[in-house]
Subunit: 112 residues, 2 copies
DNA sequence: ATTTATACCTAATTTTCTTAGGTATATAAA
DNA sequence: TTTATATACCTAAGAAAATTAGGTATAAAT
């Protein structure tokens, strides 16, 4: 687990990237996928996630589709047309930011 | 200039890295060096910088040396022994975080 | 029967930053 | 010569974004 301050500011970018790849995901699913993909190094908290998802929906970046699974509700989120642009911009900006930080902190980028 | 939320959480790491390389720097100098090295893409605000420097001094990570330059004061900061450990930890953690984000967002790292 | 996992949510607090000032000297431009 | 820019420090109010710590409810595992 990284110190909380490090992960700050990356939440929207992470959400948008994951939702851009699979056409729909629900909140809990997002937390689990991020946990899996990062080996537990990044764990989104629900207190941060849900308000952010609601805000992004209000901004027209995401749309929702509420489904009943057994007796539980599940709220699927997907990226709108506008959201796709935002997603690309966010990811590109973050990519540029990483390059800048690698240079500034004199880090060796790993080979893929 | 990056969106402010992106740069959040990187301030201490940037300060510690720069101060670890030159034995002493003053606040204004740090803002200028970061601006220069990043081509203006990262511009530290004084309202964030000074309180952080003060906090890091209070925590024993930095020490100060106040000098008179003409009729102006200049407050030099340098990294303490404890601070050097923190600096290494912070930079390593950030480096690891970048690797994780590159994987999570499926970014292509640039060649150095 | 109780804990863990799933699945949603909110409210109070804390952390961290921005905004917007204030003080003061030195230099460059108009 | 006055005005703007650069240097150089600082703080306080407010905003933004997260954490912490709850609440509700079903399903599955211990």
């Amino acid at each position: 687990m990284y110190s909380s301050e490090l992960v700050k500011g990356t939440l929207k970018t992470i959400i948008l990237k994951l939702l851009s790849e699979s056409d729909k995901m629900y909140g809990y699913e997002i937390t689990q996928k991020v946990k899996d993909l990062t080996g537990g190094k990044i764990q989104l908290t629900e207190g941060a996630l849900y308000p952010t998802l609601h805000a992004m929906e209000a901004q027209g970046i995401l749309t929702t589709d509420v489904v009943n699974v057994g007796n539980r509700i599940r709220k699927y989120y997907s990226v709108t047309q506008t959201g796709k642009k935002v997603a690309t911009e966010k990811v590109n900006e973050f990519s540029d930011f990483i390059d800048t930080m690698i240079f500034l902190l004199d880090l060796k980028p790993k080979m893929g």
